[in-house]
Every structure is written in structure tokens, then in C-alpha cells.
Amino acid sequence: MARNAGVAEVRVVGKPLPKVDAVAKVTGRAVYADDMLPARTLHCRILRSPHPHARILSIDTSAARRIPGVLAVITGADLPIKFGILPVTQDERALEHEKVRYVGDPIAAVAATDEEIAASACDAIAVEYEVLEPVMSIDAALVAPKDERIQDYGGPNNIHKLVSLEFGDVDGGFAQAQHVREDVFFYQGNTHLPMEQHSAVATFVDGRVTLWSSTQVVHYVHRALSKVLELPIHRIRVIGAAHGGGFGGKTDPFAHEIIVCKLAMLTGRPVKCTLTREEVFYAHRGRHPVLMWVRTGVTDDGRITAMHFRTALDGGAYGSYGVASTFYTGALQPVTYDIPAYRFEGCRVFTNKPPCGPKRGHGTPQPRFALELHLEKIAHELGLDPVELKRRNFVKPNTRTVNWLRVTSCGLEECTQKVIEASGYRTRERRPGRGVGFAISSYLSGAGTAIYWNDMPHSEVQIKVDRGGVTAYCGAMDIGQGSDSVLATIVAEELGLQPAEVRLVTADTDTTPIDLGSYSSRVTFMAGNAALEAARKMRALLVEAVEARGRKFDDVSFEEASVLAEARFGTLTTAGSYTPPKIAGPYKGSGVGPSPAYSYSACVVDLDADARTGLVTVNRIWIAHDVGRAINPLLVEGQVEGSVYMGLGEALMEEQVFRKGLHKWPSMLEYKSPTFLDMPEVETFIVETVDPEGPYGAKEAGQGPLLPVPPALCAAVYDALGVWIDEIPVTPEKVIEALRRKDKGEPARYGPQRFPSIPYPAPIKVEPPPKHGRFAHQEVTY
């Protein structure tokens, strides 16, 4: 059921057109949630826990309620129903009244006529705590807690989730290997740091709640509100306001979104809550810190015979997307390299920190970092060129991986060729302190399964044509990546218009059909295919009506065609939907990893590393990204450059770390992120493999290009100084320490020394797909 039978000539697809909302954005007229101030709006502030781990003995709000200007004070008793993004981990409350699990856990909320009054009322709430010993590291979470466990599920101790899977004959694979190598790596946690602080405004009118929020997924917020507020879906409307940056950080339903709705219901007035920057650090859901151990067997010529990968994720205090994140740390290794036998053991632990969740690349940048550097080390050990060793193991298009993932279009070879040639990698000038490193990666074009089990399409689009104009309705949320522009381009392409001529209604649960939102790089592929189907149906109506008059569609204006079609058929509406093919493997846990298509990237980093100061200065980055087909190359470049930037920030400076239970730097000054001065020039190559199922052949662009940057940077540091930094961020201290160890004759590396003992269960043994490799030979049902 290829949606795109051959690529016909296109008019607007592939053109670097400005975004449809570009003028609103550059004139300050886009309305973000905090820009809204309906008449009589009350302001909400949230009282948060000062302790990383404590039982709540009592909460006294009486003094707060007496303050003039305070209209409502609520606590956990008002919102006792638990929620959470995954059905298996409904472990959060909008307000906690029994126990707090991290500094920043919400306890009470106030609605007042003024934000300062609300803040002062929060100060007037008296909470009595029984302080418990916090659990602040993976090691601490693996042993018996001094006081009590953080959550009352999972286990043993503070383990949240254990995963153990084995595909093919791993022991046999290692037995065939001529070389076996083991390494340990650590990827530090970091946060999204969107420029816009989370914000939500709610009203309650005629028994209906309306919420405007800075969210990536109106649908999931809608569901969580219905559950916690105990209101039917039809009495809740969630609208995505203009969005000031997500990167995965606004993909969970959040406490403040539920709280403003509850306060609006209680007071009958609009209620707004905008998080402070410090609170944004506590909302988090960012990159999991992950400790990794990997063992790989290879032949003399560098062919992988078996791989065993272990991960330990520091999850923070709640589930969030964590179960999925855990599986993702093991899922995509075989999507770039042909691994004939593979064992994956994953573990997520609870700690008394803000919950980790999905950040750009969700659970896959960490293992990608480990895998790329591990292969780099194997190549050096065997005396092989790392690029060549990796190429020998590249997956081929139209194959099934050992863990049953279906690979269709794959531009790994072409991406590699582009960056190796453009960077002059092979002919580079060798001088001390200068290094060049290479890495590759892959990412999903949308998760193949929904967050909660259901058989509905993942995206639906409706199109209406009337009075000579066209409107497309879609639930997807434009978070700045330009998904509105992609939808408009697809509809315009099919109907013979310009993107700016297509009116859009998006991300509104009252007026738009279901779409699972902006996460997992799914919008272009999934909403794009739904829009394509709806637009083609509309085009067919217009063509039929025009031809019935003995004329040709291309000879009449759109306005005239629409009048003819409305006269012939009545109201003109069409719909399209997209459901991913059912391609998950036949094993428990196979739901994480499948995607209708994978993007591929290759990256070269050129840097100077100063042996005296440990400072790393990146000179230039080359990146090639297989996007299938660029619906809008300008937006694709923007996504690729933004991904490179974010990967570089993670590689060099960004880290979310804690001291004595407290976030070390919950501010934008101390949490370092790259500025204009830190960002090198980036040379971007768009590789088009024309995916058989993507709209016009398109795949994802927003996440994959982040992944190769940290390992390419560390490979370049080794190239420059001869030391391995097996832990990011690569700070000057780590470089200096590694050089010191090298001088003393110790292993020339900085990184974790060991991987802890984790009680992984016996692996679920999964037979690889029949005739592992080509899937042409087997039944693949879509």
C-alpha cells in the first residue's frame, strides 16, 4: 500500500518557501499561552517541595486562604486521581498530599487576583514533613533504601523497570568472533531548556473546560484532564497555543495544566499559570543519564558477529515515558549495523530527582554515543579505518533487523560518502591538537505504536473547500519545526495552490480530528500521509466536477473548480487518515522501535583540543541527513542545524546535575548552553532516498541529526589528543584528567570504571525474523 506510487512532478514540494506563520513570528504577533489574558484572569502559583524525599504529615492552608485577593487554594485532596503518560505508570498526582519525591514536586496551588499575592499565599501554606533519606544515584537505587522506596511499584529496591531480550544465537556469535571487546560509557542527563517557560490558561464556561497550553500533544493532555478532573472528553477542549519550543519537554501532561483547569472550575474565572525558569528545570522530563556496558564480537575484517548491550537509566522520581525510554536504549542499534545476534538488558531506576523522559532522540542518543565510540575503539584495535569498519557493517535497504525492525529506504552509504568527501576526512592535515571524528545514526519517522493501546489511526486530516477557499483540519501541533507549513505544502501541492493559500486549523481537540502530536518525529510522515489522502480525495472531486463540464482541471481557476464541485456534490469535505503498518515483531517489548521508516545521518566534527587547558574548540561540522525527500529544504536544514547545535551542547557543556538533593543550577546562566559564539559553521547535506511510504517520499528530520554529534566529537578528541572521553559532556577537567592518566601510563581515558551488578531477569529469547536480512522473502503485512 505504497502511498506514493512514484514521485510525479511537483510544484511546491521541495521548494525552500518561508513558513506559513513566518510573519506572525517575526512581528511579535504569534500568541503564546502566556500572552493570553482573558478578562478577569486569576494568576496561579504552585507551592513545591523543598525536600527531595519526604512524607507529608500535614498541610495547613488556612492562613493562605485568609489573604485578600486569594480566591482558591487547592491541595492533593482536591485532585487525588493519579495520571501519567504511559498506561502502565500512572504514578503522578497534580498535587501530592502523601509524599514528595523530588525538590520541586507540587504540593498546593493558589489562584489569586495577582501573581504576587498568589506567591505570597504559597509562602503562607504550612507543610509538615517527615524527611526521608533521598536516593540520588543509580548505585544508590540498586541497593536497599535506608528509609523507604521512592515508588511502591517496580523493584527490587528502587528499580523501576528491567528488560532482557535476546535475538538469535548470541553465545554462538561470540564464539565465532576473532576479537571481543568490552567498554563502559556514561551519558550525562540534560534538559530541553525551551526558551518559552511552560504556560497554561484555562476557562470554565457552560460546564466546559477550555485549556490553552504550551504543549506538544493536545490529545494526551485532553485524556489526562478527562481522567483527573472526572469530566467526559466532550466537556474538555485543549488548544495548543503558539509554541515556544518543546524538544520533547512538553510531551507529558503536566501538573500545572490540570491545576489551572481545576482552579477555573472552582472559581468560575480564567486561571493562568506560567512556570518560572526554575520550575521549568523541575518539570524536566529530559535526557536520562545512562550508564552503558557493551561487548561486541567481530571477525578479523571487522564484521560484527554478536553484541551484548546493557543500560542503566537514572529515571528520576516518576515513570513519565521511562518504560519506553528503557526499551529505546536497546532498540535502534541494529537499525544502523547488521548485528546477527543481539542481547539487550536494560534497567531504569527511580531517584529523588525531577523525572526524566523524552528529549530529542528519546533514549537513543545515549546508546548511539556508546555504540559509535565502541566501534571506533574496535577499529583502532584491529588497525582498521573506523569509517571502513562501520561501512562493512551498515544495514542495507529493505531488510529486517535481528530484532524484527523493518528497514526500507536507507541512505547511510550516501550520507557517509557526502560528509567524508566534503570534510576531507581522509586527506586531513595531521597536527597535534587537531582532530576529526566521524559517526552515524538513525531515528524513527514516528513511533509505530501509540502510547496507549488502541486501533485508531495515528493521524486524521479533514479538508473543507467552500467559497473558493480551502481549510485543512489537523490535530498536529506546530512547535516551531514547521509542521503547519508541511501540511499546507502537501495540501497546496495536490490542489494546485500555494501553501499560504491553505487555511489551517490545528491542535484543537474540539475542531480537529485525532493526531498524536509532535513527538517521535511523526508529523511529516503520519499527518503528512493523512493530509495527502484527504487532499487527493478533494482533488478527485474537483476534477470530476470540472470534467463533467467538458473542461480540464488545469484550465480553470481553483475558485471556479470549487464552485463547480460544490454545485455538483453539495458541501465539500474529505478526510484522510494514517495508521502505521503493523510490523512489530512477535515478542513482548516489540512495540518500541518499529517505525514506518528510519532516517539516517552521518557527521564529521573537526576540532582543536588544547592539551594545556583541556578546552575543545569545534571548527566545523559536516552533516548529511537522509530525509527521504525534503518537503521544504529550508525547514529540513533548520531542523538539521538545530539538532547539530543541541547535540553539540550535550557533548560539550549541558548537564543536569544535583548536589545534596538539590538541582545544582536551575537557571539559564549556570546551566550552560551554546551561544552564538560557541556554535561553529555547519555544512548540511540533504540526502533524498525517496521512501516508498512517506508522503512524496519524506521521512523525519528533527531528531536524528542530533545523535551522531556527541560520538563524532569524542572520536575527534581522541584523534587530536589520543585520549578517550567516554562520558559526556566533554569538559576541560575530563580532558586534562585523561591526559594526566595517559602520562602516568594508565589507560588513556576518562569515563566510568565499571558497570554495576543488576538483577536482570533471564532474557526472553526471540527467534530472528526468517531469512534474517531481506524481508522480500517473508510475509510482511501492512
Binding site: 513566518a22 513570528k25 512581528t27 511579535g28 526558551m195 519545526q481 547545535y645 551561544t675
Partner: protein
């Protein structure tokens, strides 16, 4: 700290000159320019990312020079010309920087764009043909998380190129 704000707040009457319009306002004396612009004057084009002077998002121009509106008290700048993003276009004609940002995809989520546009405008007024490094230097106080800065640098270069002209008409809307 407790209940400090519950005391009577001192309010001042002052006149601010914003985007060429003079407005008389009664505001609590401790309110920042950012708050007064957004809350008292409904000029919500000025955004905020930290309210601590760390991110540059709330940049406005005071007498043509970039200022962090979250760190300025209105009473400090009475009588001085303030420019916000709402005052950058000439009616519906975009400033060349705005046109270049739109054209080249320099605004993704758009949240940092007002502050960066104003910083860039101040730069171009002092230095109409800056080098790429001079642009980096001038904009280093403005953080952006979406673009990786590349398209912003391209857009400022385009806006400063002779071909761009002083003013550029609104992009051609479809007829």
C-alpha cells in the same frame, strides 16, 4: 519575605514613550519594564525566558540600544524612546531584518525572535555591513534553542546586504 507584597504597594504615575506613542501609566514602582510592557500596555511581542537577565529573550531597544527589559525599571527610562518588536515594522511593511528572518527560516518557534531582531537592528544601525563574527559578538547575549543560530546569521547577513534595501514590502500574499 512572608506576605511582604501584602503591604500597600507604592505606585507611580509615569509616561513611557514606546514605539513613538506616549502613554501615561500608573504602575507599582517595583514592576519591571518587561511586566509593564506586557501586562499594562498589552505589548506581548516582548517575551521572557528567565526574568533574571540571563537569556536575552526580553530585549528591547532604549534609544536604539539593546536593554534587557526584565532588569529595567520603567522609572529609570522615563522620557527615553523605547522600541519593542511591535515598533519594528513600518505599518505592514516589514523591516529588512524581519523580511530576511521570514525568508530564510531564522524564526522556528519564534519565541527568541523579537529579542534577536531588536539586537540585530541595533547592530545594523551602528554597523551596516557587519562581518559574521561581528554578528555573533553582537547577538551573543541572546539564546536560541531551535535554530543552532545558523539561519539567524544568514538572515542578518542578508538583511545587511546591499540588495536588501532599506525597507522591503510585505511578502507577496497570494492573490
Amino acid at each position: 519575605m512572608k506576605s511582604e507584597v501584602l503591604r500597600d504597594v507604592e505606585r507611580v504615575v509615569l509616561t513611557l514613550d514606546v514605539n513613538g506613542e506616549r502613554r501615561e501609566l500608573l504602575v507599582p514602582v517595583h514592576k519591571t519594564l518587561l511586566e509593564v510592557l506586557r501586562e499594562n500596555m498589552q505589548l506581548t511581542g516582548t517575551k521572557h525566558g528567565c526574568e533574571l537577565g540571563e537569556c536575552g529573550t526580553c530585549t528591547v531597544l532604549v534609544e536604539g540600544k539593546p536593554h534587557l527589559s526584565c532588569l529595567v525599571l520603567p522609572i529609570q527610562i522615563v522620557g527615553r524612546a523605547i522600541t519593542t518588536i511591535e515598533g519594528m515594522a513600518n505599518g505592514s511593511e516589514l523591516h529588512p531584518l524581519q523580511a530576511a528572518f521570514a525568508e530564510l527560516g531564522a524564526a522556528q518557534c519564534g519565541y527568541c525572535s523579537p529579542g534577536i531582531l531588536l539586537s540585530a537592528r541595533s547592530l545594523l544601525e551602528e554597523n551596516p555591513r557587519p562581518t559574521r563574527d561581528e554578528i555573533r559578538e553582537a547577538l551573543a547575549g541572546n539564546l536560541c534553542r531551535c535554530t543552532g543560530y545558523t539561519k539567524i546569521l544568514d538572515a542578518v547577513e542578508l538583511a545587511s546586504s546591499p540588495s536588501m534595501g532599506r525597507w522591503r514590502a510585505t511578502p507577496e500574499w497570494p492573490k
